[in-house]
Symmetry: D2
Subunit: 342 residues, 4 copies
């Protein structure tokens, strides 16, 4: 019996989650709900996905445009075991009561607050604590990358204190015509920026502080980390520590991968759908250890990195796979993480 997964919100994340669900042999897509009636809905139709209207008004508008939704959000929830909420920030909180009323498990995305579900999820860090829960939140792209990499150092007993400077992409490509910034940078007004504390919702013991800024590009986040280690360690030890955690990959300047755009080009060339990179890509030959200090930088594909985490969260909440490593392995195999190039 496959898990029936509903996707509510068919945007940047929802589209990727829906595609990833379809690729898992233990899941099927119950349907996607949204309220748009433009090219985005036509893509869902072309993919052959069951379409539902997120609201009554949307249902009418969809019918007017010839989309023939199978029903509204309520009927979608009835037919599913679990819903992945990929709606915009603010909408997600309003959806929670609907999911509770429908008696359905629910996964929220990182735009939501930790308090909405009381649990924040990164597969390699705390899969087991999510087993059989009604709800969890897959943390944001920045937090996911932070947790994966700091977890690696922590598991190796190397992490004392982490200080990060996160230079964020300004907006996503699809809305860069309305929501961009231009020839400037915007520092986050508060220190710590929210990503540091957010990582502590997954691993409370982390000593982590982050500063953040926004740069005028839409390719990827670029994180810079300054780590105090628990002891002097070699570069090799550190790299080994990173290799021990799934969904961390290494790229190299001396392989010609010298900037965010090049990594993105590589992803397109190795055939990744949409050019997505699900891994955190650490620059191996930039990484430096000096005594008890470690410095490194990596690239985060903010549109893609949470997708495999979401797939794992589905299995964790539904309790159908109780071993984190097994779930991660299945997800990775289905998506093609680790089989090629990186």
């Amino acid at each position: 019996m496959k898990l029936k997964v509903a996707v509510n919100g068919y945007g940047v994340i929802g589209r990727r989650v829906a595609d990833a669900v379809v690729l898992q042999d233990d899941m099927e897509l119950a349907g996607v709900a949204d309220l748009v009636t433009d090219w985005r809905m036509r893509v869902a139709v072309q993919r052959g996905f069951p379409i539902f209207a997120a609201t009554a008004e949307a249902r009418e508008a969809m019918n007017d445009r010839g989309f023939e939704p199978l029903g509204d959000l309520g009927s979608l929830l009835e037919s599913a075991d679990i819903v992945v909420d990929c709606t915009p920030k603010g909408v997600d909180a309003r959806n929670r009561p609907l999911y509770e009323a429908a008696g359905i498990r629910a996964i929220f995305q990182g735009g939501a607050k930790h308090e909405l579900t009381g649990h924040s999820f990164v597969a390699s860090a705390n899969y087991e604590s999510a087993l059989d829960r009604r709800m969890t939140r897959v943390v944001s792209c920045n937090t996911t990358a932070t947790v994966r990499t700091l977890l690696a150092l922590r598991q190796a007993g190397l992490l004392q204190r982490a200080r990060g400077v996160l230079v964020r992409r300004a907006t996503d490509p699809w809305e860069s015509h309305t929501d961009g910034i231009l020839n400037t940078m915007v520092p986050e007004p508060g220190i710590p920026s929210h990503q540091g504390p957010d990582a502590q919702t997954v691993i409370p013991e982390l000593d982590v502080v982050t500063m953040a800024s926004k740069a005028p590009q839409n390719v990827a986040h670029l994180h810079h980390w300054i780590i105090e280690l628990t002891r002097t360690a070699s570069r090799d030890e550190v790299i080994e520590a990173f290799r021990a955690v799934p969904r961390i990959a290494f790229i190299r300047v001396d392989d010609g991968i010298v900037a965010l755009n090049v990594t993105a080009e590589v992803m397109k060339e190795i055939g990744r759908p949409r050019g997505d990179m699900w891994e955190v890509a650490i620059w191996e030959d930039i990484l430096t250890v000096e005594g008890r200090e470690l410095f490194y930088a990596y690239q985060v594909d903010n549109q893609a990195i949470v997708v495999p985490e979401t797939i794992d969260a589905i299995r964790a909440l539904c309790g159908t796979e109780r071993d984190p490593e097994q779930s991660i392995r299945r997800t990775n195999a289905a998506l093609g993480i680790g089989v090629a190039f990186l």
Copy 2:
């Protein structure tokens, strides 16, 4: 017997041509030659392509990096029926004598001058004149788009005079870290810019003048046209004329496709490899006819548009398919042009 196609130059165009060759049931990839030894060559290896070194020095460097090329350019040319030259501007002209010496047919790209081959190619316009030639040049992305669309108007007997303003993308994504422009626009110093006269190498009768500028983005070219028609015509007649020519597609503002980045997002979403768009995408609801004047704008994916043309040029030079429509149909079917969405 399949046509054996060599690809010399495994860059933005070469990679796409190699992939497209592999998809044709009447062609096989004899191999790719280049001199890089970084991630680009690793991609070729991962694809399982026969690899050759473009020069003797490159062969050594490749061996040093563990790539084990099967031979040099000479051996590649010996094993092929035709070579597609995708080397940078300037290198192509130096390669011509090599191809002649090898007695092999050759296709050059739009960076080369018309004089290099004496023939310039756009499949829908002059396929037949390329039949059995030793060499041709597939014209540049801007010229290909110009020819496809003006041809449409000309075939419908509507084209009197064409005046275009071509706003070009500044550079390609993969080299945007070294070769970009930033917060400015650069007008082409000469009028007509080279694209107008270049279109006349394919259709000499065109009355066409172009102005051009460069904009700080790497997504696509945006062409604006002001056409004097031979007579008053309706919008529908004009659209019908465009529909009659292959590899022209329509996009609509009222479908949410309002800017270059949105079209690019759509291509990724409908599963196009690398997000490529092989069609000229005309904004249908922007197109306006006023009396005997026609105004329209379209988007050109400069990395992709010449790829199907190159495939057709292979068949034309080799003479294995003498009917332009048949070749275009086969190429389109193999790539997936016209089957979906657009």
Copy 3:
């Protein structure tokens, strides 16, 4: 007796108009009104300008932040002969009744519609028709540039038909952190774009059609024009025609001025306040005449070009200078237009 000028709205345009008023020997600045309480108001204070609160709430907020406005908009209007409305689009229309109630002359900016005042102003084109009017609208940056240059051709008896492609800057520098676009271009959905018809509010006889797009830069607009002349003419004739109209300057590619950013750098280097360029800067060595066709491109500083027009409009409405050439000469001399470099 100097003209007392009120400036309502102390933003990009208002700040420049206030400074320009101060430089005129026949005008004095009655004060500036706004509702912001951040650095922008501190600049007004530093300049020593009389400050007024645009609304009652603003007055309180200003007092809270220690700005001590001299009064509200009402008192400013009482003390002035004329008001220049530099408030955002939409606000201007709501202000009109206030100005009428105060019995004061008023100038609106190009964000307003022609219908708001029934008169649209460009000094070199229709100064005299504005004499003694209660209200006028100084047309937008794009329209001002269009009118200045097409007027030149018309006055020389050369203008038959004008077709333009206007590539607009996406936003102004000061708000580029919230209001930008990023790595894309946005075509205007309608043809003609509004600038063509808008030019006809100043010179109704113009046969002009414009297409427009938005580019990801905040430096300047770049207009491309394709002109059908009334007869064959020489390049020199055309250049002479442009020279005969004030506030048109020439720049040259062979002088190293090859892109928007270079022109902007020149303006800073010749000491223009804020780097402003009040002139339309035509590329002299790009301009081309072919038979009865003329092609040219120019750069428009969208923040500055309407400032001298506004100063002239003040004199025209107040009727204190009845000769257009005299007013233009005075304005130009006070600002420094034409004395240097260009």
Copy 4:
């Protein structure tokens, strides 16, 4: 008797240094030397500066274009007490023997290596060690900002260890049409990036490590610092420490100054020539102290910040002002640093 200052290289820095020299009452501009013959030389002529040709060929080219240089570099050096070398990286080193042969004091810019002169200069840090030297190097924009701010913490006895992430602007505005990057970020391949060690050429005792990246904008550098203090300290103490060092200014998010572009706009509005900001601008309300850790971010105008330092270096080398504070005060007063707004 005024100091006669020669400026060799009339580019981004040379133009600013020449203007700043003219504003000092104890200096006069002996002349500027360059080899360009485009708008840049015309600006020098317009400013009324004595012009010299950097090379014999340049002299001919200048004469051909009607610039009439007064002589070549040799004659300029003869007539001056000191030369400020503002030539591009690489050229400076080749000029050193010329200056030695001419028996003239010389100041190099931060593109040069420390070894070229054996002394690296920041006025507030080590003015006295430069007194009567033949040569010094004014360190780069990034290093100047780093030294000014770390010096402040060190003088207050607060600085233990400094770790910085420097996000650099990609290129200068005037060459953004040829030398930009586009929609990407480029991490510096080495850690520490050169700025950390470079600061130690001025203050050897600093414990400082920097990472750096390049962002696609041309406005300013944005530095993020994570400081380990010698002891717990209050925010006020830290701010006081920064205030005690000249050419550090404070900006505030709650004053509307929220991004690089806004600060740049403020500089234009307060009438700074070219919109230059000579100060390091620290965001006061972003600065955070947590126990013994300090976090802050600031903006560096890379075109302007070294200009007052260069003026001070002139006095130090010539020994005409032996008190650092006096020199800094004179330079600041002449330029207008500290009198307004900030």
